[in-house]
Amino acid sequence: MNGPGRFISRRVAEVGMALAGAAFGGIVVVGALRHDVGWGLTGPGAGYFPMRIGLLLMGVATLLMLRAFWVSTSARFAQVGSLRRVAALLLPTAIFAASIVPLGAYLTMFSYLLWMARFQARRGWPVALALAIGMPAALFLLFETWLGVPLAKGPLEEALGIY
């Protein structure tokens, strides 16, 4: 999708988003068709409302797509450099989010913050370690001790007997 100046054009992004909206509308319609989309015993059936929402969404998305082609623009959606910064924040966060169920919240948060502070933000070890230890500790005190709400637990927490 990279153009000559290594960026994604606004038009491509607009069309892509409209397509995604239309596709979602299509999924909603397909899902609604599994139910009664007309009149049931208790008035409009379960699929009545979702099907119409889905159809409307497909209609609006089509208009948006036409508009994206019609309105002339040379604007950029994002440059490769800025997308790289976004990815540098998003990917570790997604990995962190995906691993809190199998590994528990504390160890993953420690690793995540350490990685972000030491290797992404390029801070010194003292700052990175202080953040990586301080933040989970603060959340532990707030949630588990004070409010009595447990965070996700993994094998490490189990081994240490923190419950």
Partner: protein
């Protein structure tokens, strides 16, 4: 019970040491949330909501609403000092607030912003106090048809007056409505749009969506922009505040006009963001010093700030009396009400006077507390912005992820929040408004129920929406608002409208 006695009773509820303590805590968390990028009022409230399950509802709503006031003020602080709006509704404040700060009038700009906010909030609460009982009584006459018409009005108002591209607003709304139908159907008990996935049976929590769209999405959008943060050091001294206070009468016209715009936009759901832009635009058009706008004109700070707060406060009334929130934050609070087991609507005023009037009374006190606290703590909170974004972002991400987990202790929710974050980032980049989606997710089920009940009553006859003067005028107004962008476009001879993004 007249409004005055009800209000006095409300003060008895609100003015306990515990509740005043909650206000102070709420306002301070709110200012922090407003100052930090990626944490705004809607998802601040969403993050704090699970912690309020242990409180009585009135204490919970006082904490959450105080946080809202704090966040609105915190958002203005960063707009003025850093040219970075901490809240979408304080974007208009950057236009003149930051130029003022660059000219060395930061303290004056801040004091003006806070005092106008306080004025806007006060006018908003007074209006609520006066009209609350009338609106609740009015709403008692509502049948399902009127309720559906009001929901339709809320949706159409966003499309017609929200300020963003109407098609994009409509798309955002429709996606929200579709997401709201996921899970068990309340009427038939059928599983809708789950495609056999057990995790979807309970539906998608709007709290997860708010944390993703507003929190994670906002952080990704901030990471996208390179511009280095250059702040202006400011201390607000008491003398400067008093001097500004003495200047306030000069802006009487702007204050009153902006408060009126704000209250209107808050009551008919247009939201604080649209209100502040509209107020700024009106001020620029009618001001005698219009050439000075954009270069540090005090009226350009007073107008959006007054409207922003008047709308923020006024937005809570339709939320309480009709169950229709006037802003994204009010939508999250409405979700909170439902979780606390309260049914918003006119009956709330009869069944839970402590809750309703305790909240209204607390708004008088909390807004005062908020203005005083923000004036006193500006230097401290401004210093938070000097922490590099590279460190701030992962910390806020960790809070958002933890917050998504706290909602139901579900790993699926956490992944969903990240997914919503990506969607929110793209929406933000392409000027799709996010608030309508959240509003639709909260109201979707209620709107559908009202529609189905109405259709059952009328046996499928759509003319029931014009069957009496009340429902007929609401429905017609809704359709007019829906058609407004098209009408305005035709009236201007098809010229392109200048649009601004909202929330």
């Amino acid at each position: 019970m007249t409004s005055l006695t009800a209000l006095l009773h409300g003060f008895e509820v609100a003015l306990t040491a515990y509740h005043i303590g909650l206000m102070v805590v709420g306002v301070l968390i709110g200012i922090l949330v407003g100052v930090l990028p990626g944490l705004g009022a809607p998802n601040g409230v969403a993050l704090l909501l699970p912690l309020t399950f242990f409180m009585p509802p009135v204490s919970a709503i006082i904490l959450l609403s105080s946080m809202y006031w704090g966040a609105l003020l915190g958002g203005s602080t960063t707009s003025i000092l850093f040219n970075i709006p901490g809240e979408p509704s304080s974007v208009a404040t950057t236009f003149d607030g930051h130029p003022m700060a660059k000219q060395g009038r930061a303290a004056e700009a801040l004091a003006l912003a806070f005092l106008s906010s306080g004025f806007g909030a006060l006018v908003g609460v007074i209006t609520i106090t006066i009209v609350a009982n009338d609106i609740a009584e009015f709403a008692l006459r509502f049948s399902p048809a009127e309720y559906f018409a009001v929901y339709l009005l809320a949706f159409c108002a966003f499309i017609g007056m929200g300020g963003a591209n109407p098609l994009k607003t409509a798309a955002s709304l429709l996606v929200g409505l579709a997401l709201a139908t996921i899970g068990m159907d309340t009427v038939s008990g059928e599983m809708r749009l789950t495609f056999g996935q057990d995790q979807l049976v309970g539906g998608i929590s709007f709290l997860v969506a708010v944390i993703g769209l507003f929190g994670i999405g906002e952080l990704l959008a901030t990471a996208d922009e390179t511009e280095k943060v250059e702040g202006i050091h400011a201390r607000v001294r008491l003398a400067a505040v008093l001097r500004t206070l003495l200047q306030m009468p000069r802006y009487t016209l702007a204050l009153v006009r902006s408060a009126a715009i704000g209250i209107w936009m808050g009551l008919t759901p247009g939201g604080p963001t649209a209100a502040s832009f509209m107020s700024y635009g009106v001020a620029r058009r009618f001001s005698r010093r219009r050439d000075n706008f954009g270069r540090g004109e005090p009226e350009g700070v007073v107008s959006p700030e007054t409207s922003d707060h008047a709308a923020g406060v006024a937005a809570l009334l339709p939320m309480l009396a009709l169950g229709v929130p006037g802003s994204a934050t009010a939508a999250v609070m409405l979700g909170g009400l439902l979780i606390w087991g309260l049914q918003p609507g006119p009956m709330l005023f009869q069944d839970q006077p402590d809750f309703v009037w305790g909240l209204i009374a607390s708004m008088y006190v909390a807004n005062l507390v908020a203005v005083v606290l923000v004036l006193a703590t500006v230097p401290i909170f401004a210093s938070v912005m000097r922490v590099p974004f590279g460190l701030l972002a992962p910390m806020i991400m960790a809070i958002c992820i933890t917050g998504a987990w706290m909602i139901a202790g579900s790993g699926f929710d956490v992944m969903l929040a990240v997914g919503f974050g990506i969607i929110g980032y793209v929406m933000k980049k392409l000027d799709y408004p996010i608030a309508p989606m959240v509003l639709a997710m909260v109201l979707g089920d209620k709107a559908e129920d009202a529609f189905r009940q109405t259709m059952l009553l009328s046996r499928g006859d759509l003319t029931i929406f014009w069957s009496n003067a009340l429902v007929g005028s609401i429905t017609t107004l809704a359709l007019l608002l829906l058609a407004w962008p098209l009408l305005a476009w035709l009236l201007r001879g098809g010229a392109h409208l200048k649009r601004r993004p909202v929330e």
